[in-house]
């Protein structure tokens, strides 16, 4: 093979290239020459470049069938962006992909061996998404002011660091993150990616810098599978984006997640493996938000008001990129739920929830569709929980706003009636230890404390512990309320609180009175069950319960 002439020409043209580039390649995998070159032998090192930098051919070869071909010269790895479509790599990326196709070099670079429930032989292993290299980071696109205007979670291209270059056409290419000559950071990266410094050079997710995932020093406990196989970093903060995302050959192509199924991405660390709280265990309770059933339905741009299939995944309530400290009002979401969309008290979709209940209303506050049937069917059968708490109702637990009257509530000394409560004041994990949120509980429906709704329950401090946490038991049972017959009904006749009271709100009656249809029946001859207030503190009940007819009974 006559390589000498070509080498001379290559040398002449490479005279402009700093000798340092060729010297660095020699020690790396991109040194494709047969004899491992000694860096001290400059003449031989030119051969290393020719594998990617096609040398200029010195002679013309006549094409015997085509007289006009002879004078043509190629620009093998330069490419005009004119006419290139999405999925057609341009510029330097074309050169990389001409070897990284699975034959000379790995086709999908950095193919992960992440653990997950992906079965070895599933027919839907790859989704054919469209025209892009779907499971790899996108390349060959213009990263300019227009793109930055459309996507505020990107860094302004004018302020990109010099180590992350765009090509001559202001496009992002393989060469923005990789320098094929230099392997000093590993994987031929242009910069060290500890704490995801390389990712965050372009990606500016709001709230990231103060979020738990960016700052946590938590390590793998050794249980189950290593969430960061092949990574040199040991803590969550150092792995940064790589805890959930995979740049090449991502298991879950949309959003380049490293595991299939949104909840698997989270449970890789939040199942007693890295994070302190074991969410997976919490969700295995009899009453739970079972995220595993959602599969792959979740779409970050979904709008529950406009219509979406009801589902719950981790990211419906949590924003893994956010979690920064902001001013905390009484009803603001917990730090782990900042930056999450919601449906406000009026029923409108909001991009960032200011109140915790707005997050819950994405599923529990919709008209016409509810994720679950209520445990107790009531006279006033409003199923939309958002409407149950509406401030125009006759009575309500103060979630949307403060309650108007304070005397009827008989709260325990540690609670003040001049406050607003949240969904998670009642709903949460029933276990003594474990994560506090409403992931799952032994008490249905995902309650923090026991709350019996069965008729003939024997009254005790623990039977209605949820109510007694705020409403003083002695005061309720033994006379401090307007209704003096609580002990008679609850203790003597063993009626549960829920027979008469609705824990959320009552549109028609004060005192959260909204009878349980299964326990409270209409009195014979009377049209329906009803409660009519009598004066400021009294009332009349028209109903039949435990065989006792109230037609009416007055207090």
């Amino acid at each position: 093979m006559r390589i000498c002439t070509e080498t001379l020409i290559a040398a002449a043209c490479l005279a402009a290239v700093p000798a340092a580039a060729s010297a660095r390649v020699i020690g790396t995998k991109h040194n494709l020459a047969i004899q491992r070159q000694n860096a001290a032998v400059p003449a031989a090192s030119r051969e290393v470049c020719a594998f990617c930098h096609t040398p200029h051919a010195p002679r013309v070869k006549k094409a015997l069938w085509n007289q006009q071909m002879s004078s043509a010269v190629y620009k093998p790895y330069e490419s005009s962006t004119l006419g290139a479509k999405v999925g057609q790599p341009t510029g330097a990326s074309k050169l990389c992909l001409s070897c990284h196709d699975g034959t000379i070099a790995a086709g999908t670079v950095l193919k992960g061996r992440r653990a997950g429930s992906a079965k070895a032989w599933t027919l839907d292993r790859r989704k054919v998404l469209g025209t892009d290299l779907s499971d790899d980071h996108p390349i060959s696109f213009r990263y300019d002011a227009a793109l930055f205007g459309r996507d505020p979670q990107l860094v302004n291209p004018a302020t990109l660091p010099k180590s992350v270059p765009l090509d001559a056409n202001r496009e992002m290419q393989c060469t923005s993150c990789h320098d094929a000559h230099d392997d000093k950071f590993g994987s031929f990266l242009v910069a060290d990616n500890g704490r995801s410094a390389l990712c965050t050079a372009c990606h500016d997710m709001s709230g990231w810098r103060s979020s738990a995932h960016a700052n946590s020093a938590a390590r793998w406990s050794g249980a189950k599978d290593n969430p960061w196989p092949g990574s040199p970093y040991r803590t969550v903060a150092e792995n940064g984006c790589a805890s959930c995302h995979q740049t090449h050959a991502a298991r879950h192509p949309e959003r380049l997640l490293s595991r299939r199924g949104h909840d698997e991405v989270c449970l890789g660390c939040h199942a007693g493996t890295v994070a302190a709280a074991n969410i997976e265990a919490a969700m295995s309770g009899p009453s739970a938000h079972r995220t595993i059933e959602a599969g792959d339905i979740h779409d970050p741009v979904e709008d529950p008001v406009k219509g979406m299939p009801l589902h719950v995944t981790c990211v419906d309530c949590h924003n893994p990129h956010d979690g920064g400290a902001r001013s905390r009002t009484a009803s603001a979401p917990h730090a782990s739920m900042r930056g999450v969309s919601g449906v406000d008290a009026g029923g409108a979709f909001v991009k960032e929830s200011r109140h915790e209940h707005e997050i819950c209303y994405k599923c529990h506050g919709l008209d016409g569709r509810q994720p679950a049937k209520p445990r107790v069917l009531r006279i006033d059968d409003e199923r939309n929980i958002r409407r149950q708490f509406d401030l125009s109702n006759q009575s309500f637990h103060p979630v949307h706003g403060k309650a108007p009257s304070s005397r009827a509530t008989v709260l325990t000394p540690s609670h003040s009636s001049d406050r607003v409560i949240q969904c998670t004041d009642c709903h949460g994990n029933g276990a003594a230890k474990g994560p506090k949120g409403p992931h799952g509980s032994i008490f249905a429906p995902i309650l923090r404390l026991p709350y019996s709704t069965a008729d003939r329950t024997v009254e005790s401090g623990s039977a209605y512990a949820l109510c007694y946490e705020c409403h003083d038991r002695t005061a309720v049972l033994y006379g401090a309320t307007r209704f003096k017959k609580h002990a008679d009904h609850v203790v003597k006749h063993r009626t549960p609180c829920s027979a008469c009271h609705d824990a959320h709100g009552s549109q028609r009656n004060r005192g959260l009175i909204n009878f349980d249809r299964a326990i409270v029946k209409p009195a014979a001859g009377s049209a329906a069950v009803s409660f009519v207030p009598a004066g400021r503190t009294g009332g009349r009940c028209y109903l039949s319960c435990h065989g006792a007819v109230h037609n009416p009974r007055t207090y």
Binding site: M1, A12, I34, T54, W65, A72, K75, G102, I104, R126
Partner: protein, 343 residues
């Protein structure tokens, strides 16, 4: 002085490049004229040697109707029914067109005899990680998986038969070719050698080794066996040449050198011979196919960078049928283009 010559030739080259890499391009001329003109290479007055026939992007292009079964296939493979993601290798025989698609993680089998389409995501050992080579021989379809380092044998319907080469220590097996008597040549790219297996999976012999001399390789990627002339062609990618062997592995000749002009090779990929023994070599960086005569002299080049008919974007594998139909896997245009070689 040399710099000035360099600049002048670059300017001339730029002018030449402006009108297409292989002379005024027939595809461009057809597009400009607006008429559905025939796309041939070379342009008149030279005698036409290659004619563009069509391209395959999905089963419908081959007249395979999508019935109930195919609707189920659509559900499994995703939105685009049978659409290629990144086709890398192509093989045809007996009415079957097989396309290895590492982007989709499997092999597409288009059977124009039974009028059926199947997408095969895996074989006996599991799903395909990186199916980059395919060969067809009667009822047998061979698929090389450069990630799992095996060659899978499946039948025309896609059912797995066996795996070959598991114990041979293959490292990134890529190109496949079928020799006489059902011998399977496998380009073991990572080990820089060619392995020969029997159809039962026994390794018969191997030859090669890393080097620049005759019979040595630096990442051999694609293979082609010319049954008529009993010659094996090997695309020796990083030696920028095509080497020719007899069936036993004895070296008989080579041609090619690196360069950026017609007649040189920049990133040679697929190689095939037509019925006259001319060697078609696909070049991924030129986005074209070059034809050499058996002595290695350049005859013609066809194709240029682009997405229209007769244009390529990082083309990969090539297959020349006995009917002189030439199939080229046009990977980043997500299609297989078909040309006719005119005697």
């Amino acid at each position: 002085m040399r710099a000035r010559l360099c600049a002048i030739s670059m300017a001339a080259a730029g002018a030449a490049l402006a009108c297409g890499c292989f002379g005024p391009d027939p595809a461009a001329r057809a597009a400009r004229s607006g008429a559905r003109a025939e796309i041939v290479w070379p342009e008149p007055p030279d005698r036409a040697r290659i004619r563009y026939v069509g391209s395959v992007e999905s089963p419908a292009d081959l007249g395979i109707e999508t019935g109930v079964l195919s609707r189920a296939v659509r559900l499994i493979t995703g939105r685009d029914d049978g659409r290629f993601v990144r086709p890398h290798a192509v093989a045809a025989g007996g009415g079957l067109l097989a396309v290895a698609d590492p982007g989709a993680g499997g092999v597409h089998l288009f059977d124009t005899v039974r009028n059926s389409y199947a997408f095969v995501p895996g074989a006996s050992g599991g799903s395909f990680g990186s199916p980059v080579g395919v060969a067809v021989w009667g009822e047998n379809v061979f698929v090389s998986d450069s990630e799992r380092n095996i060659v899978a044998l499946i039948d025309r319907q896609g059912a797995a038969v066996r795996e070959i080469g598991g114990g041979a220590g293959l490292r990134r097996p890529a190109g496949l070719a079928l020799g006489e008597g059902g011998e399977l040549y496998v380009a073991d790219a990572g080990n820089h050698r060619i392995c020969v297996f029997s159809i039962d999976g026994a390794m018969l012999r191997q030859f090669g080794g890393r080097g620049t001399g005759p019979g040595q390789f630096n990442f051999p990627t694609n293979l082609w066996y010319d049954g008529l002339r009993r010659r094996l062609f090997v695309a020796d990618a990083l030696n920028f040449r095509v080497q020719v062997f007899d069936p036993s592995g004895a070296f008989t000749g080579a041609f090619g050198e690196p360069g950026d002009r017609p007649g040189y090779l920049a990133r040679p990929r697929g190689v095939a011979t037509d019925s006259d023994g001319n060697v078609h070599v696909v070049d991924a960086l030129f986005d074209a196919v070059q034809i050499f005569n058996p002595e290695g002299a350049l005859l013609l080049g066809y194709g240029r960078r682009g997405a229209d008919a007769g244009e390529f974007w990082l083309p990969a594998g090539i297959h020349a049928g006995s009917d002189d139909r030439i199939y080229v896997a046009d990977s980043y245009n997500r299609r297989v283009q078909i040309f006719a070689y005119l005697h």
